[in-house]
Every structure is written in C-alpha cells, then in structure tokens.
Symmetry: C2
Subunit: 182 residues, 2 copies
Amino acid sequence: MASQDELKETFVSEETRYTGKVFTVRERMVELPNGKQVVRELVYHHGAAAVVPVDADGTVTLVRQYRVAHDQVMLEIPAGKLDSASEDPLECARRELEEETGLKAKNMTFLTHMAPTPGYDTEFVDIYLATELTEGRASPDEDEFLQVERMPLTEAAERVMHGELSDAKTAVGLLMAARLLC
Amino acid sequence: MASQDELKETFVSEETRYTGKVFTVRERMVELPNGKQVVRELVYHHGAAAVVPVDADGTVTLVRQYRVAHDQVMLEIPAGKLDSASEDPLECARRELEEETGLKAKNMTFLTHMAPTPGYDTEFVDIYLATELTEGRASPDEDEFLQVERMPLTEAAERVMHGELSDAKTAVGLLMAARLLC
C-alpha cells in the first residue's frame, strides 16, 4: 500500500463565511497531492455526546423530537451538543441523559467517537452505553419538546435494520449495544 | 403518548446566509409548540449515496481518503454526493462504487436512508449492500485521491466495535451488513 501521506491535503488559507450559534462556516484553500489548489467548504461544530440507556431488563429509552431539517418527528437516542469545544463529552452525555429522560447511570461505557459527516463537518459525536440506571425527573430545556419512548433493545435494533430509525448516532449506538448485550 | 403534533415547529420565514458548491446555509425562523419564535441554523445538502460491497467470500472493499474536516485519513465505505437533489441515489451508488473501486455489482440491496446530522443538516445518505461483484478499472475524479483496502466483513465490523472506523455511514453500513450476512 502507498503511504497515507500521498493522500494528504495541505492548508493554504482560510476565510470565515458564516458565524452562527450552533456552527460556523469557513472556506479553506488546500493544496491537493497533485499540487492543485481547491476550496473546501467546512462546517465547524463543537461536537456532541449521545447515550444508549439500557435497563437491567434490556429496555432502551429513546426520545422523540421534531427535526426541522427533515420536517419530521424522529426517534433518537438521548443526545446534545457540547457546551464548548472543551466540555468533557462524558459529562455532556450524563447531563443530556438526565435532562431528556430523567435517568441517571451508575455505569457509562464509551462506545465510539463517531464522525457523522466527515466530508465537510468537523463534528464528532461521542456515544456511550449507560447501564445501572435509576429513574429521576426529566428537565428538558425550556424550548426543547420531547417525548420519551421505551422498547426492548432487540426491537430497537430490528427497527434500525428495517430502516425505521434513520438517525446515524441512533443506528450506530443501538447496533453496537445490541452486538454487546443481546 | 401525546400527539406528535405537539412537538412540531412551524415555518415563519427563512433567509439564505451562505451559498457554497457543496451546501447552502439558511436561517429559518420557526414557531415552537409554546408559541415562542426561535432561529434554526440549517445546512442544506443534496444528499449522498454509499455502498457496502461484499464479495462471495465475505471480503468488503473500503476506501482510504484524507478528510480535511478531521485532518486525518479515514477508512470508509465507497460513497459520494448526489449530482443534484433529483439524482437517483441507486445510480449515484453504482457510479461511486465503480469510480472509486472499479467494482460493478449485479445486486444492490437498499439498507437504509440515514440522517447523519438531523439537528441542523438536511443531508440523507442512502446506503446499499452490493453483492455479485465483478472487477473493473477504478476511475476516481481528477482531484480525488483514494486507496482501496480489502478485509473480511467480520473484521471490519469488529473494527467498528473497537471505535476504529468512526465514519457514521461506514459504521451503520458495516454493522447492518454483518447482521445480515455473518
């Protein structure tokens, strides 16, 4: 196999084109391995954390929420954005789990550091398996509208296999958890 | 369970803030279920298609490429952007498979319509399982630098489980294929 260095693009310059609250857009000029210069459009995002919470009896807790980007209500594992690039994803995962579902986990196992959109977006989503759960009170953000839904992990994994749960972090988290636990 | 309509956000207005070649950014004002108006930052993207190509002997073909967003070489299933919002994802999947790896597939099975980033990006990636493969000649785009790598599907799925293959479409495609075939 040829060296991976033969694939690398080199930074030339970068310009910010949009600054939002959730993400920033920059155009980066890079030099390709063939010496040609091209522009890469990049979304800069702090990252996020997500949790697959599985009870002792094999029940997984999911959240239903409206996603304006797809104009549909989607069933997803609990998740949220990091407050800043320096926030510990594990802390974020615990906070989002409790806010969205009321669940607290004694045990959080790291599953993967997922790149949802590596072609043009810097976001990573750290996904955890949460077990040894205790129930508390959910406290979603004032402007966050959610419905909690529970089902057996085996059923959730089958719903991924039938293309019914299309969110990437949810599909990855549920299929990984099912491979580990079922 | 409460009605899903209770979760829905209503369109108020929208403004384009950035227009690129790969994606566009718009700020959409929506009305929340509580009547409050908030701005949603949205990336508009045509969508993409991806393929898990598995030989008769259970070998999967992956591609290594540099991803500027993560400044790393990543190992992914063959994939590419739709030429336009109206392109058939199946045609796109066949084209990208052949361009990137030289493989042609007699059989393409739809796996899922994956939403990589439903929180702020309209992109969907349609993922297919390609079988009954024949070898041809790869013809990557002039500015596309790739290395093809083959391994048993069982090993690829284990590498997802160990967090080594972090690209979302790759993790979803490989875990779904492994559940179907292994």
